[in-house]
Every structure is written in structure tokens, then in C-alpha cells.
């Protein structure tokens, strides 16, 4: 029968593992930092280019009807809303204090995961409704002089795309996201109970 002191001596005499060297750690840390900033940079740049594109259409193309401008305005506002959500998320993730005690930290994470699940569930429908509304208003004038065939084709393709996103892509995305979130929340609850 071995006692705990024996385990202690086994632990303390354990051979050194292949551990990250200080120079590698520093290199990785710097790489990690620039990776994070780069990802955020490309996200924001992508959105900014799209916004600028729509803005150019709005300013340089002359439309006769205010309905078209309203459509473009709705699409632009929706994209701005998306950027705001992206920045909000980024700020929330950065605000999480990893130096607080584990029980509080897990509680924070749990709240965050729940909020994210809730917000993204409802927000998607708002996003699709706004984009669809915006596109409908935009097409109203733009397609006025087009042939009936082209109009039918444009509306059908747009509707099909939105339906495909809502009922196929979103379903798959939300399911995998929800499964992951549920797994995370379950695990966070279990972990939190261990610290009570």
C-alpha cells in the first residue's frame, strides 16, 4: 500500500516533459496576437468594402423613386447592424476577465453563451426580413424596365436563395451551433457545481 507521500515523490521526480521553450512561447504569443488582429481586420475590411460598394451605388446611380433609396437604406442599415453586433461580440469576449475566480468566470461564460444563443436565434429572422424588404424595394424600380421573364427570374432566384439560407443553411448552422452551445453550457454547469 502506497501513501500520498509516495505519490508526492513520484510527482516531484517526474522526468521533464517536452515543454514549449521560452523563445517558441514568445514567438507563438506574437503570432497569436497578430492572428487575432488580422482576423478582426479582414472581417471589418470585408464589411467596409461591401458597405462602400452599396454606398457608391446609392450616390452614383440616379434612381427616380424614393422607394429604391429606401431599399438601399434598409440594406445598408442591416449591414451596419451586423457590424455593430460583430463589434459588440468582440468587446464582450475581450471584457471577460480570466483572472477572476473560476466559479465567477464560469458563471460569466454561461451567461455569455446563453445570450449568444438567444440573440443569434431571433436576430437572424430580423436580418432576413430586413434584407428581403430592402431587396424588394430596390428591385421595384431597378427591374421596372426589364422583361417579365427577367423579373420572374430575379425574384425567383432571390426568394429561392433566401429560402435556402433560412431553411437549409440556417437550420444546419443553428443546429451545430446550438449543439455546441448546449454541450458547453452543460459542461460549464457541471464544472461550476464542482467549485461550489
Amino acid at each position: 500500500m502506497k501513501d500520498f507521500d509516495h505519490l508526492m515523490s513520484v510527482w516531484q521526480e517526474q522526468p521533464k516533459k517536452d515543454q514549449l521553450s521560452v523563445d517558441d512561447a514568445l514567438k507563438q504569443v506574437k503570432k497569436g496576437m497578430s492572428g487575432l488582429s488580422r482576423k478582426l481586420f479582414w472581417n471589418i475590411t470585408g464589411m467596409a468594402i461591401s458597405l462602400a460598394g452599396i454606398f457608391v451605388v446609392m450616390v452614383f446611380f440616379v434612381f427616380n423613386s424614393w422607394v429604391t433609396y429606401l431599399g438601399i437604406f434598409i440594406i445598408l442599415s442591416t449591414m451596419v447592424l451586423y457590424v455593430i453586433m460583430m463589434i459588440r461580440d468582440y468587446r464582450i469576449i475581450n471584457k471577460q476577465d480570466i483572472t477572476i475566480n473560476p466559479a465567477d468566470y464560469l458563471q460569466d461564460l454561461k451567461e455569455y453563451q446563453k445570450n449568444r444563443a438567444k440573440v443569434y436565434g431571433g436576430l437572424y429572422y430580423l436580418y432576413v426580413c430586413l434584407i428581403s424588404g430592402g431587396l424588394l424595394l430596390y428591385f421595384y424600380e431597378v427591374l421596372q424596365s426589364a422583361s417579365t421573364m427577367f423579373k420572374i427570374l430575379a425574384y425567383t432566384l432571390t426568394t429561392a436563395w433566401l429560402l435556402f439560407c433560412t431553411f437549409y443553411l440556417k437550420g444546419r448552422f443553428v443546429k451545430s451551433e446550438q449543439d455546441k452551445l448546449n454541450l458547453m453550457i452543460d459542461r460549464l454547469i457541471r464544472l461550476q457545481n464542482q467549485f461550489d
Binding site: M1, K2, D3, F4, L7, M8, V10, W11, Q12, E13, Q14, P15, K16, K17, D18, Q19, L20, V22, A25, L26, Q28, V29, G32, M33, I98, T99, I100, N101, P102, A103, D104, Y105, L106, L109, L183, M184, R187, L191, Q194, F195
Partner: protein, 165 residues
């Protein structure tokens, strides 16, 4: 070299071994432990300015490491608890010395504990003072002593049980 880099290097040299033990005890896997070690020190780097005036640097780093381990949630493929067993099973017994075998057995037993127990016991094994463990884990010292007593018993029982097999 920038001052921040010098400070970081000093902190890394002084703490990385124990933090690696904590991460390895939690995951039971070299690569995963190195990933967590790296992630911990990335957070240390990000928060280095915030912590300049803290009295106990090791407590602060341990907290980051504990929270990083707890959110090690890439769980579909890497369930920390189940990971050690196949790793140990793959180790060819005849190739390892008795000491390595004992260490592997000890890690196997640690992997059978609850996550919080794994974290606490690695700090006990690394001889961190109880008030510091209490501070890191956010558990009152009295409660922690009871917990540690139970974990020690559980780990010793597991070790003896597996050693007989």
C-alpha cells in the same frame, strides 16, 4: 529587447513548468498541455500591463491557467477526461523505466478525478501553499482543506487499485 519581452521571459521561465504540470494533469496529453500552456501565456501577455501591481504573480498566472483549462471545450474530439487512457495504453510498458511507469500511472489516476479535483491536486503535488490554492480556486480555505483531504484519499486509493492490476 523591449521591456515587456524581458518581463514575459522571466515570468515564463519561473512559472511554465508548474503551469505545464497543471495543464498536463488536466488533459493528460502533451500536445494539448502545450496548447493550453501557450494559450495561458498568450493571455498573460495580453494582460501584462494590468497585473504590474499585483503582489503574487504566480497566483495571477495560475488563475489564468485554471480558467483556460476549464474552458478547454473543444470537446467533440478532445474530452480531457477520456484522453489519458488511450495514451497510457499505447505506451509500451517494456520500453519505459519504472519511474516513468509510476508517473504514467499517477497521471492515469489523476485523469479519473473530476476536473476541479485534477486542478487542485496538481497544485497540491507542486506544493503550492494552501492559502494560494484557495485564492486561485476561489474556494474558502476551510472548505479547501476538506476537499484536499478527500482528493488525496481518492487519488491514493486509485493509485493502489491500479498498481495491483
Amino acid at each position: 529587447m523591449a521591456e515587456k519581452e524581458i518581463v514575459f521571459k522571466q515570468i515564463f521561465e519561473a512559472n511554465s513548468k508548474k503551469i505545464f504540470h497543471l495543464c498536463y494533469g488536466y488533459t493528460g496529453d502533451d500536445d494539448a498541455a502545450n496548447d493550453l500552456l501557450q494559450e495561458t501565456f498568450l493571455k498573460v501577455w495580453q494582460n501584462l500591463d494590468k497585473f504590474r501591481n499585483q503582489a503574487m504573480i504566480s497566483t495571477w498566472i495560475y488563475r489564468i491557467a485554471v480558467n483556460t483549462c476549464l474552458t478547454y471545450l473543444r470537446s467533440e474530439k478532445r474530452q480531457a477526461k477520456d484522453e489519458l487512457t488511450p495514451l497510457i495504453a499505447e505506451t509500451k510498458i517494456e520500453e519505459v523505466s519504472e519511474k516513468t511507469e509510476q508517473v504514467a500511472l499517477l497521471y492515469k489516476c489523476i485523469s479519473k478525478l473530476e476536473e476541479s479535483e485534477r486542478i487542485i491536486i496538481t497544485m497540491v503535488l507542486d506544493e503550492l501553499p494552501y492559502p494560494e490554492i484557495a485564492e486561485i480556486s476561489g474556494i474558502s480555505e476551510g472548505n479547501l482543506r476538506v476537499k484536499i483531504f478527500r482528493i488525496k484519499q481518492k487519488l491514493t486509493e486509485l493509485y493502489n487499485q491500479y498498481e495491483r492490476l
